[in-house]
């Protein structure tokens, strides 16, 4: 059973070495990590059985908040931008959440989409504030007051994003494995019982919603700083769809899957765009189709199946209890009896 944990540990250790092996990968990896953190937000909501088609809203709000800060007299300090962006995303998550947690299923998904598209049109139309479709240029921020050259800043950003991804992945796992996290996940299976336990499903969902919005915010700030520009595309519905796409690709509801999916997505996208420029979306579409048809548990599901076959006798209830990931069964499996 040890191999089950050793392989991911080795993979985690390899990631920080990648920029040395292939320096051109650095920016691709930062983007993958930024998106992975945002997808972690979407995937958290999937644990409660809710799919949001509008989480790019929080991604964009955080990105624009940090861009405004960088443009202001205060100037761009990376950590302040990150804190402000995440706070703005969390606060907007609370405000939007108060409304959308009243709905479930398709209504929940579409209302989120509606909010993100309203924000997108605000970004497009309030040109004098937002720069319209041209967006806002985000100057390279200082890091604890130190101005870094582009290459140094990207190196810092890569390692910081990597550590942040590990930290937030751990935080998400702890949250999902905590009593409040379990209550949040029961919104998916039985809201009636939840009410008869004296718990408000709406409030419980709201807690997870704000958490997921905050995660999207972190991703938004990271992407804004690495790309050096924020545009209304950050809130565009395709960005939200991309997050759901990556979540399903990695393994719907899986914390590790959010990052594995984001990494695979960015690599396939980069290579497909380079070698099959006209049909890269088709390549990605086919990739997802294969996953949905043959491995509904996503890439993490494939890994789990592989490990189970290799170590058929391994695993105990304690393993299952210890790792919230394993405690989760994807939506496609066992519904109510």
């Amino acid at each position: 059973m040890l191999a089950r944990y050793v392989i991911p540990a080795l993979l985690i250790l390899i990631v920080p070495l990648l920029p040395f092996l292939a320096p051109w990968l650095k920016v691709v990896l930062i983007i993958a990590l930024a998106k992975g953190i945002a997808v972690l937000g979407v995937t958290t909501l999937l644990r409660a059985g809710q799919v949001s088609f509008g989480h790019a809203l929080f991604f964009a709000i955080a990105a624009y908040a940090s861009a405004f800060l960088a443009r202001s007299a205060v100037g761009g300090e990376f950590f302040v931008m990150l804190l402000l962006g995440t706070f703005a995303a969390g606060l907007s998550g609370l405000l939007v959440g108060l409304f959308v947690v009243r709905y479930r299923g398709i209504f929940f998904g579409m209302l989120n989409l509606a909010f993100s598209m309203i924000f997108w049109s605000i970004l497009e139309k309030f040109y004098y504030l937002t720069g319209g479709a041209d967006g806002i240029h985000v100057r390279r921020p200082t890091v604890l007051g130190i101005s870094l050259a582009r290459a140094e800043f990207e190196t810092f950003l890569f390692y910081f994003a990597f550590l942040l991804a590990l930290l937030l992945g751990w935080v998400a796992l702890r949250f999902l494995n905590s009593p409040i996290g379990h209550l949040f996940q029961t919104v998916k299976t039985n809201e009636t019982r939840l009410q008869y336990l004296g718990i408000s499903p709406r409030r419980t969902l709201l807690v997870g919603y704000v958490f997921s919005a905050g995660l999207c915010g972190v991703g938004g700030v990271l992407l804004a700083t690495v790309q050096g520009i924020v545009t209304p595309d950050y809130a565009w519905w395709i960005r939200s769809g991309e997050m759901v796409f990556i979540a399903v690709l990695g393994g719907a509801g899986s914390v590790a899957g959010a990052f594995v999916g984001a990494l695979a997505y960015e690599l396939v996208r980069t290579y497909a765009a380079a070698f099959a420029a006209d049909i890269w979306q088709m390549v990605l579409g086919a990739f997802l189709l294969v996953i949905i048809l043959f491995a509904p548990g996503g890439m993490i599901g494939i890994y789990d199946t592989l490990m189970r076959r290799l170590f058929r006798n391994g695993g105990s209830a304690r393993d299952r209890d210890a790792e919230s990931e394993a405690a989760y069964r994807p939506a496609v499996e066992g519904k109510k009896p």
Binding site: R174, F175, N177, S178, P179, I180, G181, H182, L183, Q185, T186, K188, T189, N190, T192, R193, Q195, Y196, L197, G198, I199, S200, A317, D321, A327, Y328, R329, G334, K335, K336, P337
Partner: protein
């Protein structure tokens, strides 16, 4: 102040042309096991739905320990000490039996700290004991989706008991359980209720269960409480034999 634990006064509710409750007045005394019997569609489950806040009556009031709860939500009523077990067990199917119990204990105790593992909350032993009390200790680590209907019924009741309620409302606690096991399940249940000092109201169709485990019986028909009394007295009433039982017990 009323002397009753729960009291329904003049309840009325209609679904279209169907009268599910009409001028219903029913009291539940502390410590008793009150059975509600009646033909299908008589309004028994509707009564439980009203008492737990799921449905709001068009007239009448419900009191719990002297406090009016008619317009409160199910979760507010639950917080006051009224728990419910369902005809179809309402459990978290993706969780194990013990996790269901721990979630209930967390809800009761208000464990909101995001960094404490559910499996490590202080009430773990207490919940394990409750599961053992309903004879489900050996399936504690199995997802409830894999368990039999009878086990799920018992866990559903154990989850309700985990809330440490004053009153437990049960809808057909032995339905779905093999007839050979009904009395065994009920025996376990009544013992668990007595150990926890919980008053109960249960809807039941099996008259042998009612006769053996109820202190008092209320007969329900066409949305009205037709008759009330001890099991022996009620179950031998000619109207009950004709309309509810269909034969002599």
């Amino acid at each position: 102040m009323t002397a009753y634990l729960m009291e329904a006064r003049g309840l009325e509710i209609r679904f279209g042309g169907v009268v599910a409750a009409q001028n219903v007045t029913l009291e539940v005394k502390e410590g008793q096991n009150l059975a509600i019997i009646g033909p299908n569609g008589a309004g028994k489950t509707t009564f439980l739905n009203i008492c737990t806040g799921w449905l709001k009556p068009s007239a009448g009031s419900v009191y719990f320990r002297g406090k009016e709860i008619t317009r409160l939500s199910p979760r507010q009523i639950c917080r006051l000490g009224v728990a419910r077990a369902f005809q179809i067990p309402q459990l978290f199917t993706e969780h194990t039996a013990l996790e269901n119990m721990l979630i209930a204990a967390s809800a009761r105790e208000g464990h909101w700290a995001p960094f404490t593992a559910l499996s490590r909350i202080p009430e773990r032993e207490e919940m394990m004991h409750l599961l053992e009390m309903v004879h489900c200790g050996d399936v504690a680590d199995r997802p409830v989706v894999e368990l039999s209907e009878g086990q799920r019924k018992l866990i559903d009741i154990a989850v309700a008991l985990a809330l440490k309620p004053r009153l437990l409302l049960m809808d057909e606690p032995t339905s779905g359980v093999a007839s050979s096991q009904k009395h065994e399940v009920m025996e376990i249940l009544v013992r668990a209720l007595a150990a926890a000092g919980v008053t109960s109201v249960f809807v039941e169709h099996d008259m042998s269960i009612v006769e053996r485990y109820a202190d008092e019986v209320a007969v329900w028909a066409a949305g009205v409480v037709q008759l009330r009394g001890g099991p022996a007295e009620v179950l031998e009433h000619p109207d009950v034999i004709r309309d509810v039982i269909g034969e002599t017990v």
